[in-house]
Every structure is written in C-alpha cells, then in structure tokens.
C-alpha cells in the first residue's frame, strides 16, 4: 500500500467529460458485441498508429510481467523449507519460515524455478549455471531473498572436507550484477547442517528493478583457516578449484514507499521519504552537509561531518518494538550535498505493511558500542498520520 500523505485532494473524483465517457462506452460495447459473436475486437480500430518504438515498449512491459509470473509458479511447486543458513542469518523463526514459504514471493528457490534458468532460449540456458562441480566439490546456489536494496544468497558446498579444528575459507570471490552497481558484500559460513556460504550483496541506486538481470558469482580456492592469536588467521587452500555460477535474478521487489517530510527534533535533519523492503530500508534525508571542528587526541584540529540521527529499529502495528535491527548497509551524500541516502539491511525479515513507526537514534546520546537503548533514546517517526 502506498502512503501519499497530504495529497488526498488530487485523488478526489472528478467529472469525466461526456465525450470521453461516451467513447469509452462505445468501445466497451463493441468488445461485448464481438465477444458475443465469437469475434475478437481489434478488427476495426478507431485510431491506430504505427511505430516500432510503441510495440517494443509494450513487449518489454509484458516480458517483465512474464518473468515475475514464472518465478511465482516455480516457487509454489518446489519450495518446502528455507535454507538453514538463510534462516539463521535472518533470525527467522519456524513460524515465520512457514509463512514466508507459504506466501512464496520473497524466498526464491533456484533449483526449482524456471526463471533462474533463463528464458528458455538456447543462448540463455547455456549461460546459466546454478550448480558447478570442480575438483570433486560442488557449489550450488540454492535460494535467494531479494529486495530493492540487495540480495541474500544461500550457497551449498558439498564434497568439501575440512578439519573440525579449523574454519572453512574461500580464497577469492568475484561477483557482478548486470547493469547494477554492487556497493557491498558480506559473507558467512553456516556449518550446523552441512556447509553453506551465505552471501549478502548491497546494491546501489538503480534505475530499474533487479528482476530479470543476470548475476555472476565466481568462487576460487577452498581451504581451511586457523586463527592464531598472535599472527591472525592462517589460511591454506586445499582444493584449488574455480566455480562460476550465473543465473537470472527473480523476485517481486516488494516494498512500501512512504513520503514523510518528518523533522527529527532540532537536529536539522528531515526524513524526506523511505522505501521499506522485507530485509532492508532506504532512507532519504534532507540534511545539508556541514562539518564541525573537533580536537583530536594529539591536540590537532580535524573536521568531521555533523551527525545525522541514524535509523535503528521499528515499531510494529501490533506494538512490538525492535530497537536495533540494523545489520550493515551503505550511506552517503548525493551530489547536491543536501540529500543523504542511507540504506540499511535488517537482521531479520519484516513485512513492510506491518510496520507502524521507524526509530532513529538521537545523536546527543554519545553512544560508545552496543549499549542498551530504549524508546526514550529514539525519535519515533510514524508512517501514517
């Protein structure tokens, strides 16, 4: 649902001019008549233009609808449970897992979905590889959770053994998404049930959805890592293989956009608008870039940016408060020096429609580290009036 605060007047019903309504009615009556006679309409046009551009735009729209539709059918047929690693990384409960799998839109199963395998053409099928075996080890991209700001990917690693006194280690990981800029990559290993590598990619502002774009991830060198308290990590490659996986991204890009224009106390910061996805949030602040002087420990003068109230958590419509839910992200000023864009990943999965308010930390708290916080330490920004 969209929040369009303060512009309700533009949605008021207006009188449709007779000429417009009459022509629409005539067209609909002709459609009814032809349908009753077993004919399709379109044999006689009121006004028809020729133009290659018009056809290609409509084809693109229909192709986009096709990709989304295909992914949904694939999920309903194949997914039974969520990847253990994804579930652990996103703190998903058993109950929430059941709900997510039943809804079928957010968690994409690459091994059962047609969309990951491309559009069915010989060229696309040849490019797609969601499971690769090299040197006796198979790496498989199993599931993804994608929203507008990034992607969680669960990779299963099979056939690889490592000493239990060590940790698994991957020497090199390369990744790219067609026509999109990846701003961050984090990864972790999940070893409770088999071995999984859970990757999360943050994506910069894009002009279009990631649905339908090609992603390529290349792993090189598997091995073991041991922590040496003095020397740091000692890493050794034991399987010198290369695994290049590539597929077409699918998902629905569910999000909730809310225009807020909410001032955060006397900080001078305004939350202009937010886009909330199930696993992340993108916030546009208006906060003119300003620096202040500080004295360093060495007695020198340095400049630091004025502190912006950072997003921290949410309050749900049922009253549940999640004070700290941020798990990484990226942020920075746009070229105008006024708009500050902050993209934060959640440490869980939230239904954007279930969120009542956003929580921003007051900057005057002088926090050091992960101190316990309460609602009194927050600016509370309701999403609805």
């Amino acid at each position: 649902m969209m929040e369009r605060n303060g512009m309700d007047w533009i949605k008021k019903e207006i009188e449709i001019p007779n000429s417009v309504q009459k022509k629409a009615d005539e067209t609909l009556n002709r459609i009814r008549g032809q349908a009753a006679n077993g004919q399709e309409s379109g044999k006689k046009k009121i006004y028809r233009l020729q133009g290659g551009r018009r056809k290609s735009v409509i084809a693109a729209i229909l192709a986009a609808a096709l990709i989304v539709g295909t992914a949904t059918v694939g999920i309903a047929a194949y997914i039974a449970s969520m990847s253990a690693g994804l579930k652990d990384s996103l703190n998903v409960s058993d109950e929430q897992e059941q709900q997510l799998m039943a809804e079928g839109d957010l968690v994409q199963d690459l091994q059962g979905s047609d969309s990951a395998r491309g559009d069915g053409t010989e060229e696309e099928d040849g490019l797609n590889a969601t499971s690769v075996t090299d040197q006796g080890v198979t790496i498989t991209a199993n599931q993804t959770i994608m929203d507008n700001n990034g992607i969680w990917i669960a990779f299963a690693i099979e056939g690889f053994t490592y000493d239990t006194d060590t940790s698994p280690f991957i020497r090199d990981i390369d990744f790219s998404i067609e026509n999109a800029q990846v701003s961050s990559m984090n990864g972790s290993y999940y070893t409770e049930e088999g071995l999984e590598y859970i990757m999360v990619l943050g994506v910069e502002d894009n002009d279009a959805s990631l649905v339908g774009k090609r992603i390529t991830v290349t792993f090189s060198g598997l091995g073991e890592a041991v922590e040496d308290k003095e020397k740091g990590w000692d890493e050794e490659v034991t399987v010198d293989g290369t695994w290049e996986l590539s597929w077409i991204l699918s998902g629905t890009g569910q999000s909730r956009e809310v225009e807020l224009n909410a001032e955060l106390g006397d900080t001078g910061a305004v939350v202009q608008d937010v886009e909330i996805s199930p696993t992340s949030i993108k916030i546009h602040y208006i906060f003119p870039r300003a620096e202040s002087e500080i004295q360093t420990a060495g007695g020198n003068t340095a400049h630091t940016l004025e502190e912006l109230p950072a997003f921290s958590g949410v309050v749900l419509k049922d009253g549940t408060v999640y004070i700290r839910i941020v798990n990484g992200g990226s942020e920075g000023y746009e070229p105008d020096g006024m708009t500050y864009v902050s993209t934060k990943r959640f440490s869980g999965v939230f239904d954007p429609e279930a969120i009542d308010s956003l929580l921003f930390i007051r900057p005057d708290l002088n926090l050091v580290g992960e101190e316990p916080l309460t609602l009194e330490d927050m600016f509370v920004v309701p999403l609805e009036d």
């Binding site: 969209m2 369009r4 303060g6 512009m7 007047w9 533009i10 949605k11 008021k12 019903e13 207006i14 009188e15 449709i16 001019p17 000429s19 417009v20 309504q21 009459k22 022509k23 629409a24 005539e26 067209t27 609909l28 459609i31 009814r32 349908a35 399709e40 309409s41 379109g42 046009k45 009121i46 006004y47 028809r48 233009l49 409509i58 729209i61 229909l62 609808a65 096709l66 989304v68 539709g69 295909t70 502002d205 894009n206 002009d207 279009a208 959805s209 890009g253 999000s255 956009e257 225009e259 224009n261 909410a262 001032e263 955060l264 106390g265 305004v270 886009e275 546009h284 509370v380 920004v381």
Partner: protein
C-alpha cells in the same frame, strides 16, 4: 472481489472487463489529461488503450498488475498521439474545443495541472493518483529514479505552496517530532 473481477476480465469475460475499465476511468482520464491537450485526444487515447488491453489481456501473467499495466499502455498511447503530429502538445493557453467542466473538483484539478510545469505533471499524477512507485515511474518516463523523486518532491511543493496561499488563515506545517 477486485482480484476475482480482474481474473474474469483477463479470462475473456467482456462484462467483467468493462466493469474493471470503468473502475479505472478516473485514473485513466487524469493521467491522459496530464499529457494531452484536450478531451477529444484523451477520449481517443483511452479508447485505444481499452482495445489494446482487451486484445493483449492474455499476455498479462499476474492479474494483480492489471492497473499499472493499463496505465503504462495509456501513457504510451498518449505519447504516440503527441508524436503523430496530428495533435498539439499540452500548452497552457490552448483552449478546450468543448466547454470545460465547471464542476468544482474539475476546476481544482485543472488548475493543479495548469500550475505545474510539464515535467512534473505526469510524474505527480502517476504517483499520487495511479499509485506507481518511483522506480516504476522512472522506467515508464525513462528518467533516473533520483530525478523522479526530485521532480515529485518539487511538484508537490509547488502544489502545496499554491494551495496554501489560497487557504484563508491556515497553513500546513511540517510534522515535528520531539
């Protein structure tokens, strides 16, 4: 209920299709009006859109996207009309060929479109009337999403400023949080 009607319409039920179209007439007319000069052109564009949607309905895989799909086609039809050189672009001073409505809401809506520069008009309508997301608008009008957001914000401010100056003794204030 609306979902059921959409499914029936896409399935080929002409009565359900007609009902669905009628439910979208407000959105279609406002969108067409944001692009075209007069009501005759709006009528043509809407009629063409209805025909195309009926012809292509089976190609829509997800019925829940019907409304946005309909408006996308309409925007393209309007742009086709402009490019055809048989119609004039929206210019503030070109009079209606038929007498404009004097209904208050129509006057208010027409004034709103009139004070907005062309580059804000369609974006404001697509967002506030048709419920498009900024990313969808960016795809449709072929602009970066950041530009769409900026134009949306500026368009809204222009409208707010205009209507605030029209109100007597009242002023909208930003929400302030403590």
């Amino acid at each position: 209920m609306e979902g059921m009607m959409r499914k029936k319409a896409i399935g080929g039920d002409p009565d359900a299709f007609a009902e669905l179209i009628q439910s979208q007439m407000q959105a279609m007319y406002k969108t067409a009006k944001a692009i075209l000069v007069n009501d005759e052109d709006c009528a043509d564009a809407i009629s063409e859109t209805i025909l195309t949607c009926w012809e292509k309905r089976r190609q829509l895989k997800e019925e829940k996207y019907f409304n946005t799909w309909l408006i996308r086609i309409l925007v393209n039809k309007c742009n086709d009309l402009i490019r055809s050189n048989k119609r004039l672009r929206f210019v503030d001073e070109i009079p209606e060929t038929t007498a404009p409505s004097t209904v208050e809401q129509n006057v208010e809506f027409r004034e709103a479109l009139g004070i907005l520069d062309e580059k804000y008009r369609l974006i404001v309508i697509l967002y506030y009337v048709d419920g498009f997301k900024t990313r969808e608008i960016a795809e449709l009008v072929k602009l970066p999403e950041a530009t769409v957001r900026t134009r949306l914000s500026r368009g809204r401010k222009i409208l707010e400023k205009y209507y605030t100056s029209q109100e007597t003794g009242t002023q909208k204030a930003r929400r302030k949080l403590i």
